[in-house]
């Protein structure tokens, strides 16, 4: 409850009411940001670079995508000096954040610029066509350096004692008691909190998916979580958590993450501003692509809204993914490339040997595809086994036109992959090993015994949904 310490009445523990509240919050946020834009514009017009409030506002402003290299360097320096001021002044600085969403915007923009700078630097090195820029980048290897970005995020987390505060909250104690001088100020508390989500993102961009999830140990993914009140934060968190789950082969958990946020977005889309909605739309599409990949690995019943939208957007691709075999491989690659984060390398590229610089996206894709290839015959195996209760292995190998040895491997792979770690109310990384398939089998020599779990119809959900419709 104390997440709502900002003057909001405690909510009833009722999922729908919570969601309504979030929606209402979001409406307010959209209107508020309209006002903020004007404010910022007038500030930069007043030309008061020394005014700390305008620096705070500036830090939350997006840098133009096409900004020249000099502007990127300047922006880095501006962040460094701002964070230095916030972190290393004597005692906590006495500032109120310009808005409730400011802290998220700052951390988001800080990481976005780090990400795009690293990608840009790598591209310059790979193309080797702009010697001036390459020279400038070579001479400044520490600008937007990975260690400094991590340092800022970890320092904000430590100064704000946010981990201790979240721990107290979880135990239903007063977080203010453990927040310390810094953490009791909303500027530090907010920056610390969103730095945790920033870390989730940075670790994911560097390919450290388990550390990314570990970072979230102290944040509970519920609608009551603080990040849920800032739409972009809510969205980003679920995207990166879902993606990390997917890379750890926890497809069921990944689908749960993506579905949750996509359903939420579909509820709020009616009053999203068009510019903001554009960026959300892109991530939205990406998450549908990722759901398609996950569903191909792990067949499951999706929420009706998600299922319909998925069929609309990726119907053909999904069909090919689910059919498996070598024809599915290019589709996996296409969707992965389209939907993955813009991976980066934490160290400067080799400017002297352009060809030695491999795009990190290709690196992560290649490793992911190893697992895809290992599993690509599972759909075939399953589709046949479903038809029988017992089957001779050599006969089935004949149907499939493969050697018995090959089929033995396919059967083992498919069986081994039906065990998956699934989250159960503890930290994101923990989970129980569960059987995720309704098809099971065991071999007695060359005789395959097959059993299929019969899933009874689930009626409660259907009944409740229709009942609530009659009320409205």
């Amino acid at each position: 409850m104390s997440t709502y310490a900002n003057g909001m009445a405690p909510l009833q523990d009722d999922s729908d009411i919570e969601e309504e509240a979030l929606v209402a919050d979001y409406k307010e946020q959209v209107q508020y940001e309209d006002g903020l834009d004007d404010e910022v514009a007038s500030m930069s017009m007043a030309q008061q670079p020394d005014d700390i409030q305008s620096r705070l506002a500036q830090a939350a402003q997006p840098l133009d995508f096409n900004a020249p290299l000099e502007a990127k360097f300047q922006s880095y320096d501006a962040y460094c000096s701002l964070f230095h001021f916030i972190l290393n002044s004597e005692g906590p600085v006495d500032l109120e954040p310009p808005s409730y969403y400011w802290a998220w915007d700052v951390i988001d923009e800080f990481i976005y610029q780090f990400n795009s700078f690293s990608s840009y630097r790598a591209r310059i090195a790979r193309q080797g066509q702009t010697p001036d820029e390459a020279q400038m980048l070579r001479e400044n290897p520490n600008t937007w350096g990975c260690y400094s970005v991590l340092n800022v995020l970890y320092s904000l987390i430590q100064k704000s004692q946010i981990i201790e505060q979240l721990g107290a909250q979880k135990r239903n104690e007063d977080p203010a008691a453990v927040a310390g001088d810094y953490g009791n100020k909303s500027l530090y508390k907010m920056l610390g909190y969103f730095s945790i989500i920033g870390l989730l993102r940075v670790h994911c961009l560097l390919g450290d998916f388990s550390l990314a999830l570990k970072t979230m140990d102290d944040i509970e993914l519920t609608k009551k979580a603080q990040f849920a009140r800032v739409m972009a934060a809510h969205f980003t968190t679920y995207y990166y958590v879902g993606f990390s789950y997917m890379m750890m082969r926890r497809y069921g958990d990944a689908i749960r993450m993506f579905s949750h946020i996509l359903v939420y977005v579909s509820r709020t889309k009616n009053f999203q501003k068009s510019a903001q909605y554009d960026s959300i739309t892109k991530k939205n599409e990406q998450m549908y692509a990722l759901i398609a990949i996950c569903v191909a690995f792990h067949h499951t019943r999706l929420d009706d809204t998600i299922h319909t939208a998925l069929r609309e957007k990726y119907g053909d691709q999904l069909l090919k993914l689910q059919r498996g075999g070598p024809e599915s491989l290019p589709i996996f690659e296409e969707l992965f490339r389209q939907a993955c984060p813009k991976f980066i390398s934490p160290v400067p590229p080799n400017f002297d040997d352009p060809e030695s610089n491999v795009d990190p996206i290709e690196h992560h894709l290649a490793i992911f595809m190893d697992e895809v290839k290992t599993n690509m015959w599972s759909p075939t195996v399953k589709s046949y086994l479903k038809l029988y209760t017992t089957m001779d292995l050599k006969k089935l190998a004949g149907f499939l036109d493969v050697k018995p040895d090959e089929l033995r491997s396919w059967l083992l792979v498919n069986k081994q992959r039906t065990k998956q770690l699934r989250w159960s109310d503890r930290t994101l990384l923990e989970g129980d090993l569960v059987n995720v398939s309704d098809l099971d089998y065991a071999m007695q020599g060359d005789l395959i015994h097959i059993s299929e779990a019969k899933v009874g119809r689930k009626l409660v959900d259907w009944y409740l949904r229709n009942l609530s419709r009659t009320y409205n």
């Binding site: 388990s210 750890m248 030695s356 490793i367 290992t374 033995r408 083992l412 081994q416 065991a442 020599g445």
Partner: protein, 238 residues
């Protein structure tokens, strides 16, 4: 996940990987010694090993080739699991994709190990043993890992027991990488505790995995699920 957080992990390592010390380049030495301990004492701490790879990722000047390959081989012994892939994701792209001009030994070793791992993940155990034999480089790469072949063999046997009730000695011979029926029979009876029938068929004891029991998943309906509806209808009347 297999080999993620082993009980053997000492306090000092726990402090490194759970705190900011994991970013201190000096911690690499401690983690390297710990890796050596894992190799000698036949356990695996993939979580700690990833912290070491992360330090290498951030400080490429510290990289020791044989440490990277040892970590990959240790991760491989955890098959089937994402451990090997998770370690691969932390390598620099240039270590896993030998460029046209590079003749990096590390890149070659990594791509060899990746091929080997793919065979274990793909349950192509006969090919795994053949690949291992095919090149002396594999012997070099696995030499630091005590009991590498035995660990793989035991793991394969365990996975077989999850899928098979009976299996012929000849299939086992290929999958376990053992020469001759006598060795296979000795291994399955002594190490696995399985029985060999007179017909040369190996009997594997029943376990929850190789039962393939029929089951029915039914929906559990509780009164709590309807609490909202009931509350609402009551409120509307009142």
């Amino acid at each position: 996940m297999n080999g993620e957080d082993p009980q053997e992990r000492p306090e000092i390592i726990r402090n490194i990987i759970n705190g900011l010390e994991r970013y201190n380049p000096e911690a690499a030495g401690t983690l390297e010694t710990y890796l050596q301990q894992q190799c000698e004492e036949k356990f695996c701490d993939s979580n700690a090993n990833r912290a070491l790879l992360k330090l290498y990722q951030l400080n490429p000047d510290r990289i020791k080739d044989e440490v990277i390959t040892n970590i990959l081989v240790k991760a491989m012994t955890q098959f089937p699991s994402p451990q090997f892939d998770l370690a691969m994701h932390l390598l620099s792209p240039s270590h896993s994709n030998p460029g046209p001009n590079s003749s990096s030994e590390l890149a070659e070793a990594v791509s060899k190990l990746r091929a080997l791992n793919a065979q274990l993940e793909g349950a192509q155990y006969d090919r795994f043993w053949a690949t291992l034999e095919s090149d002396d480089l594999y012997a070099d790469l696995t030499t630091d890992i005590a009991g590498f072949e035995d660990m793989i063999r035991v793991r394969i046997a365990q996975l077989i027991s999850h899928a098979y009730r009976e299996i012929s000695v000849s299939v086992l011979e290929n999958w376990l990488g053992l020469d001759g029926e006598a060795k296979v029979k000795a291994f399955v009876t002594e190490t696995c505790g399985w029985k060999v029938g007179e017909d040369g068929v190996v009997q594997i004891p029943r376990n929850p995995e190789n039962e393939a029991k029929k089951s029915e998943v039914r929906e559990d309906v509780t009164i709590d699920m309807f609490s909202r509806v009931i509350k609402r209808s009551w409120e509307e009347i009142a």
